[in-house]
């Protein structure tokens, strides 16, 4: 299907965006954990969970905005 094949680069770009956001979420989680580690394991997990959740929400919004932009604002 020619029309479908034409959009492969846009689809792959979307997967690259997804992977980048995933890496950002993971790195924020791990670095916040290490910073909060002296407080104890549970507090460190809660702190890193809250911060990475924020990045996840912002990332999901960004992912959708990229999709809208790639679609030409449709």
């Amino acid at each position: 299907m020619k029309t479908s094949r034409g959009g492969l680069s846009k689809h792959l770009l979307l997967i690259i965006v997804l992977t980048t956001i995933y890496l950002a979420v993971v790195m924020v989680f791990l670095s916040t954990y290490r910073l909060a580690e002296p407080l104890g394991a549970m507090l460190a997990v809660i702190a890193s969970f809250v911060t990475s959740l924020t990045i996840l929400v912002l990332g999901a919004r960004a992912f959708w905005q990229v999709a809208v932009w790639l679609s030409g604002g449709r």
């Binding site: 959009g7 890496l23 394991a41």
Partner: protein
């Protein structure tokens, strides 16, 4: 244990599901247990819930494995958790449970795993190492994990081969990682589940003859969570579930998160099979939005996303 002792069980579950599924499809159609394939130009009726056949064949495989002494301890707990999740899904397929009832019932499905789990309650993270939670906190986490994973896989669904393909990749990667780390109980459960999933995919791949139903989708999420806990592969499992997490986040960010389908309707397919998404944000809709996408390609792209994130997670674990 080693891979040679696991493979025969995986082949058994594959063969059982592969052989029984055609009869199951016929029986379900005869009883009028069908669902409409809404993403086709011509609406087709498919047998549903095909997850019931997986539930039966997987249960038989687990019983035989238990009798042969191939699974013991927490692996039996994980097998029971997977079966109980399938039963809750079956109940939902038969009587359509309210969302809160389903969540509550799913909470109990993790009990066999939690009761039989004898680990130290730790999660291994790259760069950080092992994080210990203590028995009580980890028990609560186990119950939540089964519930969350099952509902996530239940939400990222509705296209031929998507749910079973998603779970098959997760079970394959988790099974391989568990085997690599010598966690043979987890590896056995995941590879036996993978056997059933691959056989089911033969009938569920585009154009599908059978849908998994909630019996299947809830069981698939439970497979991922149970194996992740059993094999201490939580980080990999969370990474593999990320497309579903993204989908859930996008839907929650939108107004009226649980009424979107009733307001905006379903995805439509034109006569060439090109999909057009309804007007709310979701992970699958992003792919449909950026370029003309057929159902087959959409599913392939989601599975590629999952494999990419799984590969990155494995790389992070190995490097750090």
């Amino acid at each position: 244990m080693n891979i040679a002792s696991v493979l025969p069980w995986a082949i058994l579950s594959f063969s059982l599901t592969y052989l029984v599924m055609p009869f199951g499809i016929k029986a379900m159609k005869r009883k009028g247990w069908t669902g409409t394939d809404v993403h086709k130009a011509q609406k087709v009726e498919c047998a549903e819930p095909g997850g019931l056949i997986i539930l039966l064949t997987l249960s038989l495989s687990f019983i035989l494995m238990w009798l042969a002494g191939s699974i013991r301890g927490a692996a039996i707990g994980a097998a029971l958790t997977i079966i109980l999740s399938g039963l809750v899904g079956l109940l939902d397929d038969v009587v359509t449970l309210r969302q809160r009832t389903k969540v509550l019932l799913m909470m109990f499905t993790g009990v066999p795993l939690a009761l039989s789990y004898s680990g130290v309650g730790k999660v291994g993270l790259p760069l950080v190492g092992d994080v210990e939670f203590g028995v009580l906190a980890y028990t609560i986490m186990m119950l939540l994990a089964v519930n969350v994973a099952s509902n996530l896989t239940n939400m990222l669904a509705g296209f031929n081969g998507l749910e079973a393909g998603f779970a098959a990749i997760a079970c394959g990667m988790l099974g391989a990682a568990s085997a690599f780390h010598g966690e043979w109980g987890a590896s056995t459960i995941s590879l036996v589940s993978l056997g059933s999933l691959l056989a089911f995919l033969k009938y569920n791949w585009y154009p599908a003859k059978v849908f998994p139903g909630d019996t299947g989708t809830l069981m698939f999420g439970s497979m991922i969570a149970s194996v992740a806990i059993l094999g201490d592969e939580v980080f990999l499992a969370v990474s593999l579930l990320m497309p579903a997490v993204f989908d859930f986040t996008l839907k929650m960010l939108h107004g009226k998160p649980f009424a979107q389908r009733s307001i905006f309707g379903d995805t439509k397919a034109d006569e060439r099979g090109i999909l057009s998404p309804p007007g709310y944000a979701a992970f699958l809709h992003a792919f449909m939005k950026v370029a003309p996408t057929s159902e087959r390609r959409l599913v392939a792209l989601v599975l590629l996303s999952e494999m990419t994130l799984g590969a990155v997670a494995l790389l992070l674990t190995l490097l750090f």
